[in-house]
Amino acid sequence: MENAKNHILVIEDNEDILMMMEMMLRNQQYRVSKKADGNGVELLIKEIQPDIILMDMLLSGVDGTIVCKQIKENPATRHIPIIMVSALTGGRGKSEEAGADFFLAKPFEMEDLLATAAAAFGLAQETGG
């Protein structure tokens, strides 16, 4: 079986990009769970217990920054490293404000996504272990 800390939840409402990111991550032997909107994310986390979360900032349903804040305010989930992705102007600042641990500006290099994911798993290993 894979590394114990390899479960990543990807939340992205653009189906093509969601699939693209899934492919990239799976290729690295990560376990990928997907979600296409911001509704009910907390419940899902409780259920599937991901090690890290990769999420877009603009989501249908609940906005990504709000979801991120909720995760980071909840003692049960706040240890989970979050990578925020966005094409938005000023995305980096908003992402930091929401409490995300990493930020990736769209469009990104595959290499950068994988490096960031690895760093996030590394962080999860340290804090959640």
Partner: protein
């Protein structure tokens, strides 16, 4: 009894003879010693007043000549034979010491004009005497008596006292005179007296002038002919007088020119010989200056009258007679010699202006000042404009009786005014037909004209704007900046440029671009400001929409780009071990073009952020040299055709946005590569001083002309390449780079020579240690 020495026939001889001396201390005359007898003989026969005190008791004798001094109802005759102490009781204090002196020391005593009051004429009188007390020796050669020879000098003394009093009064009156008076004595003109006015005029103190030759005291007079004048008066006795004579006199330490009215009068002594000069003078400098001023003003007035070609007139309101100058005649089309009555002049008045003149005159009678402008029709039917100004003079009863004034031909002025009025009308017509707001302001920045457009737009009248100010239509949020910018322009005289919102009549605020330029005269002084305000509301909205559109479009573009990029990279990684060169090359090209597309989208976004002022910086401390090293490595990988010469030498720590600074460096390097199609070498150097770090990227490519160097950091500027295809891009990379560096407080620039290459550089402040 017949005693020889008493046989005189005078009154006193008679009195002595008839007096019974046997009862007195000196006994009968027959017993009197020889010396007394001789003395009395002399005394009684002398025509000079004489008195004798004899013996230890000082028994009194006197002669006829002395008798009047005792007056009527006085001591005479009873003091004859009386003891001196009893006879002269009222003056005993005075005469006793004198008598004692004579008796004891046998010396004569002499006194002149001595006051010895005596009782006579029923009262004590002040009597002055000139007298001598001489000892009279007895037969044993001892002093036995005092012989008094005396003259009463009371009258002489009184006259003398009166003379003295008169002189005192004279001196006093000289001293107190409102005129400068001085008396010089002798041929050297020694100052005997000088009153305060004289001292004031001479600029000297009394102690400095008294008893000194005046010309020694006032040496400045010597070469002004004053000595000759004084000598002349002294020698000839001819009085000298001068009026408003300028004299240079030393006052303090300064020579002042004073104008003086003065005279030199000879003074004569009792023998009729000149022994002095009296000077009487008056300082009339102020009057002379006033005269001179009046003369000057008159002269000025004449110049003004001549220069302005004024006609001058004087109307006697009681007789309606007029005196008028030649120029006035000329204005009315007459010769100087022709006779002109007041009525004749009025006859030339334009009928429509008759009332104007009438009103002006009745106003003038009340206010004292005449002023009007009117037209006159000359004999040749030509029309001219005149301006009349005058002053009314009144009689004691308050009735006006005279008007003196000037009259000028203002036809040319009126013509100019007409032209000006026409021009102004044209300007207003022009201004009012413009859709733009047009306004003017005085040099102090006070707005004084608005075209119709302003009133139509704001729905306000000129009075309303005038009363509450034009600022009332400016949006409250824009007022402070507006007022400051306008004030700065008015103070500095530089053009005013400002965007602000004006309230329309319907309450809507609309954006306006206002611009005002100062209108200057030849000397460069601001005469007025002419301003325009253009409605840019729609343009501004469009611009905002455009910026919003760019922002949205670039965001929306990024989503497919993210997708394409991602899948291409997945494909590349999936097929990286396959031997399919076509597939690999096409994927590489797609990846490269996606990179170009990404860069364009990013630049567009950055541009809209810069425009919106929302370019964010995420500041951190990092080593600029290390960043350069990383970037250069990456660029080398992508551009294997170029060599980049760089060696990291030292740490250069800056506080900056790492992402943005790398963007600038990448831009510099990409440009260096892009614009060096025929040169492979790029040089990167880094230098620092104690303040800042500088990065220089040098290429040996096509270079940039001087003119282009100025514009290269402007938005949408691009180098003139061989063709557009050769150098793709929006031309905003350097604009963004410049903005990023400027936001960091750094400098950006270029040095370049066409055909030789360019050196782009930027600098950043070093991080605080």
């Amino acid at each position: 009894m017949k005693i020889k020495f008493l046989n005189g026939d005078g009154e006193m001889s008679e009195l002595i003879r008839s007096k019974d001396w046997s009862k007195t201390a000196i006994g009968s005359p027959e017993t009197w010693p020889q010396s007394l007898q001789i003395s009395l003989n002399i005394l009684l026969n002398s025509k000079f007043p004489m008195f004798l005190w004899w013996g230890p008791q000082l028994i009194c004798f006197y002669n006829d000549a002395y008798r009047p001094s005792l007056g009527i109802n006085g001591k005479h005759p009873f003091i004859l034979g009386m003891k001196a102490e009893e006879a002269w009781v009222e003056v005993w204090d005075i005469i006793k010491p004198l008598i004692d002196q004579v008796m004891e020391q046998a010396e004569s005593v002499w006194h002149e004009d001595m006051l010895v009051p005596i009782y006579r004429n029923g009262a004590i009188e002040d009597v002055y005497w000139t007298f001598s007390y001489s000892p009279v020796f007895d037969d044993a050669e001892k002093v036995a008596g005092v012989l008094v020879t005396c003259t009463e000098t009371t009258e002489k003394v009184i006259i003398k006292k009166q003379l003295e009093e008169n002189e005192r009064k004279l001196r006093l009156s000289i001293l107190q005179a409102p005129l400068a008076i001085g008396i010089f004595r002798g041929p050297d003109h020694v100052t005997e007296i000088a009153n305060s006015k004289a001292l004031e005029l001479w600029g000297r103190k009394e102690k400095d002038v008294l008893n000194k030759p005046i010309l020694d005291v006032m040496p400045e007079l010597a070469d002004q002919g004053i000595k000759q004048l004084l000598d002349d008066v002294y020698e000839t006795g001819n009085r000298f007088a001068a009026v408003e004579l300028p004299v240079q006199i030393l006052h303090g330490d300064q020579i002042e020119t004073l104008y003086v009215n003065f005279s030199y009068e000879p003074l004569y002594d009792t023998q009729g010989k000149i022994d002095g000069i009296m000077t009487v003078g008056m300082d009339v400098t102020q009057q002379v200056m006033a005269h001179k001023k009046v003369e000057k003003n008159e002269e000025k007035l004449n110049i003004v009258i001549t220069a302005r070609e004024l006609g001058v007139f004087e109307i006697n309101l009681l007789t309606d007679e007029i005196e008028s100058s030649g120029r006035l005649h000329e204005i009315f089309g007459y010769t100087k010699e022709e006779k002109l009555s007041h009525a004749a002049l009025i006859g030339h008045l334009h009928p429509e202006d008759a009332q104007t003149r009438k009103t002006a005159f009745s106003e003038a009678y009340k206010s004292g000042v005449l002023y009007y402008e009117s037209r006159i029709i000359l004999r040749d039917k030509s029309l001219r404009w005149i301006e009349v100004k005058g002053k009314v003079f009144y009689q004691n009863n308050g009735e006006p009786h005279l008007i003196i004034g000037t009259l000028s031909d203002i036809t040319d002025v009126k013509k100019h005014q007409q032209i000006l009025a026409d021009n102004e009308r044209k300007f207003r017509l022009l201004a009012d037909s413009m859709p733009q707001h047009i306004w003017t302001a005085d040099p102090g920045g006070n707005l004084n004209y608005f075209n119709k457009s302003v009133f139509d737009y704001s729905g306000l009248t000129f009075e309303q704007i005038n009363k509450d100010g034009w600022m009332q239509i400016v949006h409250p949020d824009d007022r402070e900046g507006n007022a400051k910018t306008w004030h700065d322009s008015v103070v500095s005289g530089s053009d005013f440029l400002f965007e602000h919102r004006f309230r329309r009549f319907d309450g809507q605020y609309r954006w306006q671009l206002s611009r005002a330029v100062p209108q200057k005269d030849k000397e460069g002084n601001i005469q007025m400001w002419v301003g325009t305000s253009t409605d840019i509301h729609d343009i501004k909205e469009l611009e905002q929409q455009k910026d919003y559109f760019i922002s949205m479009a670039s965001h929306e573009l990024k989503t497919p780009v993210t997708s394409i990029k991602g899948y291409v990279q997945i494909l590349q990684s999936v097929y990286k071990d396959k031997e399919d060169d076509f597939l690999k090359n096409t994927l590489k090209i797609i990846d490269k073009q996606v990179l170009v597309l990404t860069k364009l989208v990013t630049e567009l976004l950055d541009l809209s952020r810069i425009k919106a002022g929302s370019l964010e910086l995420s500041i951190e401390k990092f080593d600029l040299a290390e960043l350069a090293d990383e970037i250069i490595d990456e660029i080398k990988l992508i551009n294997p055709g170029h060599t980049i010469d760089f060696s990291k030498e030292c740490v250069m720590e800056v506080s900056a946005d790492r992402q943005r600074i790398s963007q600038v460096m990448i831009n510099f390097l990409n440009n260096a590569i892009k614009y060096s199609p025929h040169s492979v070498c790029i040089r990167v150097r880094m230098v620092k001083d104690d303040r800042e770090a500088k990065v220089i990227v040098q290429d040996y490519g096509i270079g940039i002309s001087k003119a282009d160097q100025q514009k290269i950091f402007e938005r949408f500027y691009r180098a003139e390449g061989i063709s557009e295809k050769t150098f793709p891009g929006f031309g905003i990379g350097l604009f963004i780079a410049a903005e990023i560096i400027s936001r960091h407080g750094g400098n950006i620039g270029v040095e370049s020579e066409p055909g030789k290459g360019s050196s782009f550089y930027f600098s950043l402040p070093l991080a605080a240690p």
